[in-house]
């Protein structure tokens, strides 16, 4: 099972990375989202994979999943969401400013004062 | 002598299996029916019912095992039965909007599916509207 889980994480990470290497903002954002899914799965699993051991304290059992990675992943999900949101809207803004959604800056685009 | 619990177990098992069967059939319909409008029928009714059955099974099961009436499933069912038609409705609207082709044996030609005169200029023409 562990091998399967790891394969899944790896496949998602690879897919995400492939997208982030694309030349348009939207696939990049989607890729980063996918990558963050992979990372969350990874981080989640660092405490081991436990079935039927939700870390809600009950009597008569001490079979619990490691709650710490879960808490970390929760934080990571929230942060990831915030970051995705920002990058998505930034992509829209890029389109608004440039008229397209190409990620690469073309030559001669030296930074200069833009005061609008 | 078949005990109460055995009967109940049978009932639960019935609902679970029925749920599974309905869910399967709904998805099967989705997979193999001829056009979109037909495919819409499976999930919107059958799958919903499938899950509904499962929920009933669960309701009985947890009511028995926890010795209190488990009614949360009811809530899930309500949500499901309220929302499923809306999804179906919206999807159907989409299909009509996209004028998806229908199975040739379909009777009736709603005006929604009439081929209108396409505006050739309307094709992917971004209109830029600067914000104030």
């Amino acid at each position: 099972m562990e091998a399967l889980y790891a394969t899944m994480t790896g496949a998602l990470a690879a897919s995400g990375l492939y997208l982030t290497l694309r030349g348009r903002t939207f696939p990049v954002v989607v890729g980063l989202t996918l990558l963050s899914y992979a990372v969350n799965l990874f981080l989640f699993s660092t405490g081991g994979l436990t079935t039927d051991g939700a870390a809600v304290i009950k009597e008569h059992t001490d079979h619990y999943a490691d709650p710490l990675p879960q808490a970390l992943v929760l934080t990571a999900i929230v942060i990831g969401f915030a970051m995705t949101a920002f990058s998505v809207i930034l992509a829209i803004r890029v389109r608004g400013e440039l008229g397209n959604d190409v990620v690469n800056v073309t030559r001669g685009d030296e930074p200069r004062e833009d005061k609008s | 002598m078949i005990g109460f619990y055995t009967v109940m177990e049978g009932i639960i098992a019935f609902f679970l299996v029925a749920g599974g069967v309905f869910a399967f059939i709904g998805s099967l319909g989705l997979a193999r029916l001829q056009d979109f409008y037909m495919r819409l029928h499976g999930p919107s009714k059958t799958s919903t019912l499938g899950v509904g059955c499962t929920l009933i099974g669960s309701m009985i099961y947890f009511s028995l095992t926890n010795h209190t009436i488990s009614l949360q499933e009811l809530l899930i069912t309500i949500f499901l039965f309220v929302t499923a038609p809306v999804s179906a409705h919206m999807l159907a609207k989409c299909a009509l909007h996209q004028k998806l082709p229908h199975y040739e044996r379909t009777k009736g030609r709603p005006e929604e599916l009439d081929e209108e005169q396409e505006d050739p200029d309307a094709a992917d023409r971004p209109s830029t509207t600067p914000a104030p």
Partner: protein
């Protein structure tokens, strides 16, 4: 203490001129002169002491870590230079008063000059190698400002930059050399270094040290092949040339040779490098001085030549040569500064520096003519002038040297040749300007400059004559003291006198003078010869080189940083593959001690769907909507995975976030192109697939390895203390709001900032709104389907109820503020979707930003509350309270914290989604009205 003031007063002096105004020029000059004058007086008070053989020290610690003390010394060498610097400096101040035009800013000029003066004094008085370097670089900088004083002229700008570049290069080499030297000795203290000659010369680093230090000295003193900056620096105002480029700054290089002479000199490499460089420079400079037309250029090349001579003298392996070198420093400073001032006067009066136009000026400026003639005579080495004395000594020493072994005769011959050319150009300088012909071509009628402008020249020429006539009583003791400092061994006995009897040097002098006259008379063929060469000089090579470097740099950066995010990402991936992958390769085994858990069909199916959906998201990325649907499947599967492996909170969160993300991406898709055109080449795709696969492989391997490693985690603590310490049964929630509440505080801060940042992004956004979908179909006229609206409205109260339920139970069961917040937001967003922005906005009583911020604020204030009970930030408290009729109720501060989370989520999410949605609304023509 007086040493400190000697250096410090001119530094203060650099501020003083700024007090004066450009209109009151006399006053400005006067107040500028006060402080250096005082400094000179201070030096003077020390003369007796120093001449009697004492070395004065002054030191305050500055940077012990660096071995750098602010340490000054005044020995003979310093004294000699300090007198020159301050003395000539004061004369320059006077001269400048009359030289600068009314539109030139006198305060600025004086400020730069004083800064330079300080730096120069610092060099000669530094008692610490690093301190010396500091002042050394300061001279480069201040000379940059002085040369560039007339910055509207391109010559001046270029000259300033060239000289800065060359001298800074030398300065950096010098730093390296001095650092090495200090490390060899173990101290940067000057005396220690000077006393460590054997230690230094036996060290294997001796050669690099000598090379580096000489590089510094040679660039500063314009030795071949670094001489080219000096003529270029003539674009400076003439007082600068007189001061920096004859008397002082260029002498810093030879000063350094003298200063470090006791420690470094005496080796073969020193002899050859210094001696030969000096010799070559001497001839080279003299030749070009002869053929130049610009009178300042003539003087500049002459300076190069004379500096070459001094350098050679410091290179030669006899003690007397050093004495001669020191003596010539004084002499050269005096006559060359005078001649520069004369050149300035001529330029000032005639408006040109072209020797071909300047003729017969003696009729208009007889007094200046006299001074110039005497100065020229000194430069030529005519007897009775001071220049003669040191040249004679030089010629004597060339006869003694072991330089060049069997070709030893070459040295005196070349030295004589140099003197010969020197005499020729001196003659040309004086005769062509003042005596030959009449100045018919000039546009102005020249006349004598003001008396006070001539006074400095007069004073210095007088000194030239006096020294020339009475060397023994004027300079011997000073020279002795200076030589004492510059020599490791005792100073040899020497007698400065005009007449040493008939000897070889006398003959050589005579040949030089006589030959000089002959050469001058026969100069025409030489000029014709020179004209064959195009004006390819070192300077243009320098310019071309610098421009080439700039262009090459720009090209290489434009190529490397081509603005391609894809490439930058690629580098990131490569870094990961190399660093992490490399380490992973080294890891002995991925398989840990833990056994694998069994597989079942459910898991296989789940994993297969997830993997397929992930790959589909990537491979179908050009059809964006489909890609998004696939992403959605991944999201759903991930939350099922969380549920499968005992993480209900995660499953809930992931589900809720998934929906919000979906809405967000759908919104974005509207504003972005609907499809991605095919752009990547096949090769690029293959490359990216391979890289991604490698990365995925690394992640998978790591994950597998981690999963099979046993872990000795701190988590047991949380499981044990969750109920007794945190008051909650849901350990994950207790970790979030209590054990690691600080993380959560940061996390909601991130969320709040994201909302605010997005609001900023949406501000003044220019929108691209497609008027039809990607297949060219116009949008449906039905903007708000009624059935959806009705159902959403029913769902809203239920969703609120559920969110409150989820919120309240969070501490003890899966749930909590974050999920509850998301549920509330999604329900509200559904209202926006179903009914439109206008409708929803009218009914929503609150603004989003304050809600989000207040949420973070509530959480933070909850944390702050514990301060008042003497506990650290975020210390939680909880208690069980019995309320009649209701029963036992648990209240925890953590719930208040969670409430903050709840509000933040609602505020931020709505800020993001609703604001984005709001954008278009005013701009969309509603087709609904047309149709209904």
């Amino acid at each position: 203490m007086s040493l400190l003031f000697i250096v410090l007063l001119p530094l203060l002096g650099s501020l003083v001129p700024l007090l004066g105004s450009n209109d009151r020029r006399n006053l400005c000059a006067l107040i500028t002169a006060i402080l250096p004058a005082v400094a000179l007086a201070l030096v003077a008070t020390n003369i007796g002491d120093v001449l009697s053989g004492n070395v004065q020290h002054y030191s305050i610690p500055w940077i012990p870590a660096l071995g750098l003390d602010f340490a000054l010394r005044l020995d003979g060498l310093s004294l000699m230079f300090a007198l020159l610097i301050l003395g000539i400096g004061l004369l320059i101040i006077l001269y400048t008063r009359f030289y600068l035009a009314a539109e030139d800013s006198m305060p600025r000029f004086y400020a730069y000059l004083m800064l330079f003066l300080t730096a120069m004094l610092g060099i000669v008085m530094a008692d610490n190698l690093l301190l010396l370097w500091i002042f050394w670089e300061l001279t480069s900088l201040s000379s940059f400002l002085l040369i560039g004083f007339w910055h509207t002229q391109s010559d001046a700008r270029r000259g300033a930059r060239v000289s800065l570049t060359v001298t800074a290069m030398g300065g950096l080499a010098l730093l390296a050399g001095l650092l090495l030297l200090g490390q060899m000795v173990g101290s940067y203290d000057m005396q220690t270094v000077l006393d460590s000659r054997d230690l230094i010369q036996q060290d294997e680093r001796y050669v690099p040290v000598v090379l580096l230090i000489l590089l510094g000295a040679f660039t500063k003193s314009a030795q071949f092949p670094f001489q080219f900056w000096l003529p270029q620096a003539m674009a400076a105002p003439t007082p600068v040339s007189a001061f920096l480029h004859s008397a002082t700054m260029v002498k810093a290089g030879v000063f350094l040779l003298a200063r470090l002479h006791p420690a470094l000199a005496g080796s073969e490499i020193w002899l050859y490098l210094v001696g030969l460089t000096g010799l070559v420079t001497m001839i080279y400079g003299a030749y070009f001085a002869l053929i130049k037309y610009d009178i300042k250029a003539i003087l500049a090349y002459s300076t190069i030549s004379h500096l070459g001579m001094i350098t050679m003298l410091f290179g030669l392996d006899s003690r007397m040569a050093t004495v001669a070198g020191l003596f010539h420093i004084i002499n050269h400073a005096l006559f060359k500064a005078s001649l520069f001032m004369v050149a300035g006067i001529v330029d000032h009066e005639c408006g040109t520096r072209d020797i071909r136009k300047l003729k017969g000026l003696r009729r208009y400026m007889p007094m200046t003519t006299v001074l110039a003639t005497l100065g020229g005579a000194s430069m030529a080495g005519v007897p009775l002038m001071n220049g003669y004395l040191s040249k004679e000594m030089m010629l004597t020493e060339t006869l003694e040297t072991g330089l060049l072994g069997g070709l030893f005769w070459l040295v005196p011959v070349l030295a004589t040749l140099g003197s010969l050319i020197s005499a020729a150009y001196a003659l040309r300088f004086v005769r062509n300007i003042f005596f030959e012909g009449s100045p018919g071509t000039l546009e102005v009628t020249p006349h004598e400059p003001p008396l006070l402008m001539r006074a400095p020249v007069l004073l210095m020429i007088t000194l030239c004559v006096v020294i020339g006539l009475l060397p023994a009583i004027t300079v011997t003791s000073l020279l002795h003291a200076a030589a004492d400092a510059a020599l490791a061994e005792p100073v040899p006995e020497f007698h400065l006198a005009i007449w040493h009897g008939f000897n070889l040097p006398l003959l050589m002098s005579a040949i030089a003078l006589g030959g000089g006259v002959v050469l001058y008379l026969l100069r025409k063929p030489l000029f014709d010869f020179q004209r064959q060469f195009t004006s390819l000089n070192t300077l243009s090579i320098y310019e071309v080189t610098v421009q080439g470097i700039v262009r090459a740099a720009q090209w290489s950066l434009d190529t490397l940083e081509n603005g391609s995010l894809q490439r930058y990402m690629l580098w990131l991936v490569i870094a990961v593959l190399c660093l992490a992958g490399g380490s992973l390769v080294m890891t002995p085994s991925l398989q840990g001690n833990l056994p694998q858990q069994p597989l079942d069909a459910l898991l296989i199916a789940g994993a297969a769907i997830t993997i397929l959906a992930g790959l589909a998201t990537a491979s179908l990325h050009r059809r964006r909507l489909i890609s998004l649907l696939m992403l959605s499947v991944v999201g759903l599967m991930v939350s099922l995975v969380f549920a499968r492996f005992s993480a209900p909170d995660l499953a809930l969160t992931q589900l809720a976030v998934e929906v919000v993300t979906m809405i967000l991406l759908m919104l974005a898709l509207f504003f972005l192109p609907q499809r991605t055109p095919k752009e990547s080449s096949g090769l690029r795709v293959v490359r990216d697939v391979l890289l991604s696969a490698a990365f995925g492989g690394i992640v998978a391997s790591l994950n597998y390895a981690i999963l099979t490693q046993p872990i000795d985690s701190i988590s047991q603590f949380f499981l044990e203390h969750s109920v007794p310490g945190g008051g909650g049964h849901n350990v994950v929630n207790v970790i979030l709001v209590d054990f690691r509440g600080f993380d959560t505080l940061g996390e909601i801060t991130v969320l709040g900032i994201a909302g605010i940042g997005i609001f900023k992004l949406l501000n003044r956004l220019r929108l691209f709104m497609p008027s039809s979908d990607f297949e060219g179909r116009p949008w449906s006229p039905d903007s708000h389907p009624m059935i959806l609206a009705i159902v959403s409205q029913t769902l809203l109260p239920l969703a609120l109820l559920v969110s409150i339920f989820i919120f309240l139970r969070g501490h003890n069961a899966p749930g909590g503020g974050f999920i509850a917040g998301l549920v509330t937001s999604v329900a509200l967003i559904l209202m926006y979707i179903a009914r439109g922005v206008d409708w929803a906005q009218q009914r929503l009583a609150f603004q989003f930003q304050p809600i989000a911020v207040a949420g973070v604020g509530i959480a933070a204030l909850t944390g702050l509350g514990s301060w008042f009970f003497g506990y650290p930030f975020l210390t939680s408290a909880f208690g069980h309270f019995y309320i009649p009729l209701i029963g036992d109720v648990e209240l925890a501060t953590a719930m208040l914290f969670d409430l903050g989370v709840y509000f933040t989520v609602i505020g931020a999410t709505l800020m993001i989604l609703a604001n984005l949605g709001k954008l278009t609304t005013p701009h969309r023509p509603s087709k609904q009205k047309e149709q209904s």
